[in-house]
């Protein structure tokens, strides 16, 4: 999860701290373009497809982490 948060901080400079419960749009301030770019970067690192349905549904930082971990575990 720490790595996901560090990567998000390459995209935005939020006022508050980012945690697993932070909402991607409201709390982190990620735009649609940010999100697509971020998922692309993380998916390449994890070796999983970047348009995973679970990523498209993700609302929080934890959702992103779990979607990537699940996709990686399932090969």
């Amino acid at each position: 999860m720490e790595h996901i948060i560090e990567t998000i901080l390459n995209y935005v400079e939020p006022d508050g701290e980012i945690t697993g419960d932070s909402l991607l749009k409201q709390d982190c301030g990620l735009t649609s373009f940010d999100t697509v770019s971020l998922y692309g970067e993380l998916a390449r690192e994890y070796g999983v497809p970047e348009n995973l349905p679970a990523l498209r549904r993700a609302r929080t930082v934890r959702d992103v982490y779990e979607a990537l971990e699940a996709a990686k575990a399932n090969g």
């Binding site: 390459n10 995209y11 935005v12 400079e13 749009k25 409201q26 735009t31 649609s32 373009f33 940010d34 999100t35 697509v36 770019s37 971020l38 692309g40 970047e50 348009n51 498209r56 609302r59």
Partner: protein
């Protein structure tokens, strides 16, 4: 990287243009090399306390922190045009007092500044920043940026940075975090040209254009150009028109303000349902196009992509705009909410492959779809959305008086360009239609806007309503 000789005999390290810059330079060359096409004129003004000396200091510091304000260009045999960073921005921040003029007189002068420029801009400083005292007690600053060195996002980022420095000096608020190096962002753009990702993106677009069905042109003019093209060609099934965008680039703008309350309704729905604001706006746009074209379900238009995700991309200035078609086929029984999601899915799919050059994309499109004419198009207009970018002011009272103004340069590279942005003082939407005067679409545009905003607000207030029901409400 190459070494070039500058007009004063010195040398500099230089680089080819990025993909976005090449597109902008192509546009410049396509419009009679009219320098106004490459000018962005904008200003940030407010009423109340105004400290010109501190603003001058803040602007000078913002200029020193912004690499791309030092960008210059030189012709080159190998690359056509190359870019380099001058050591000195050569921008003197001078003060201009228009407080004794009428608003119209002052606005006319600022518009003239925005149109000024030379086709021979090689090796010369391209940007200017001026402190302004305007009529009505408004004070602030005006900027003219060159479109090869800035896009609208970079312009707003510069202005927000200057204001954050000003407010920091005035109130002791934290000094803004540093900007990012332009050359690093530029190097990433140029590295993409030789990357596997570019090969994958090329293959993606080739595949899409080869296998997708033919789109159809949807007009915003009531005197429908596709109907005319069908009659003139004798081909009742024709789905495109020939649009000569190089002719008659003279343009004007038509502005509409949406109230802060109605804008907040849109933003609230987006927050509650996790929807994208520009996709709600684009759904409104495509619904108006649909209404103008017999409730057509298959709608395409061009949209501008900022391409700024990482902080390096956001804070390094420059021009990163790419333009792509956004095509959606939305059936009448889809709910407003599902239709927004359909637009968003197509938008996001385009985002994944939008680093690919705009010019090359059109080349591939023509090749894959066996398009014979360079002027053949399915897109009648271009849409761009400027997300709100926080600009700090000294106090809430001052912030309520703030206004950001974009000065039209009176030349447009496209027939119709709709920009939606947020007002500085209350965050309400501003719809700005930049239209070619040769088409004289003013009356049609008023109807078009009315249909578009009615579709948006009807959907926002009734997110489960079907698109067929919304189309019925905006029937011509």
């Amino acid at each position: 990287m190459i070494e070039i000789r500058l007009p004063d005999g010195s040398t500099a390290q230089a680089w080819p243009l990025t993909q976005a810059q090449r597109f902008m330079y192509f546009v410049f060359n396509g419009y009679g090399k009219n320098p106004a096409v490459l000018n962005i004129g904008t200003g940030c003004y407010w009423q109340g306390t105004f400290d010109a000396a501190t603003l001058k200091e803040a602007l000078e510091e913002a200029i020193a922190r912004c690499d791309s304000i030092r960008l210059r260009f030189m012709p080159d045999k190998q690359f056509g045009l190359v870019q380099y960073l001058a050591e000195d921005p050569q921008i003197t921040v001078e003060e201009y007092d228009h407080s004794g003029m009428t608003e119209e007189e002052s606005f006319a002068i600022l518009k003239e500044w925005t149109k000024e420029g030379s086709a021979d801009f090689f090796g010369k400083p391209l940007n200017l920043v001026r402190i302004m005292r305007l009529p009505g007690g408004y004070n602030g600053f005006y900027c003219k940026f060159h479109h090869l060195a800035f896009d609208g996002y970079a312009a707003k980022m510069f202005m927000a940075d200057a204001m954050a420095i000003y407010v920091s000096k005035r109130t002791g608020a934290p000094y803004p975090k540093p900007m990012k190096p332009y050359l690093e962002a530029m190097a990433q753009e140029l590295a993409y040209l030789d990357s596997d990702r570019r090969k994958e993106d090329r293959a993606y677009w080739m595949q899409r254009f080869s296998t997708d069905s033919e789109p159809i042109f949807n007009d915003y003019l009531l005197d429908n150009r596709l109907v005319k093209a069908r009659e003139e060609s004798g081909d009742p099934d024709r789905r495109y028109i020939l649009l000569f965008e190089g002719e008659h680039p003279e343009s004007r703008t038509l502005h509409y303000d949406v109230s802060a309350e109605d804008t907040e309704k849109v933003l609230r729905l987006c927050r509650e349902k996790g929807l994208s604001v520009p996709c709600v706006l684009m759904l409104g746009l495509r619904t108006a196009l649909s209404a103008f074209n017999n409730d057509q379900e298959d709608v395409s238009f061009k949209f501008m992509i900022n391409r700024r995700g990482t902080l390096l991309e956001k804070k390094s200035g420059g021009n990163r705009w790419h333009f792509y078609s956004l095509r959606t086929i939305i059936p009448g029984d889809a709910s407003f909410t599902d239709a927004v999601k359909a637009v968003e899915a197509e938008q996001d799919e385009t985002f994944r492959h939008c680093a690919f050059d705009t010019l090359e994309m059109y080349h591939i499109k023509h090749m894959a779809m066996h398009i014979e004419h360079l002027e053949q198009t399915y897109d009648s207009l271009t849409f761009s959305y400027h997300a709100p970018q926080p600009v700090p002011f000294e106090s809430e009272e001052i912030a309520k008086t703030a206004k950001g103004i974009w000065y039209n340069n009176d030349y447009s590279a496209q027939n119709l360009y709709l920009t939606v942005k947020h007002r500085l003082n209350d965050n309400g939407f501003e719809f700005i239609f930049e239209y070619r005067t040769s088409e004289n679409p003013l009356e049609d545009l008023k109807i078009f806007y009315d249909k578009m905003i009615t579709a948006i607000m009807t959907g926002v207030e009734n997110p489960d309503m079907t698109m067929a029901e919304i189309l019925e409400k905006i029937k011509l």
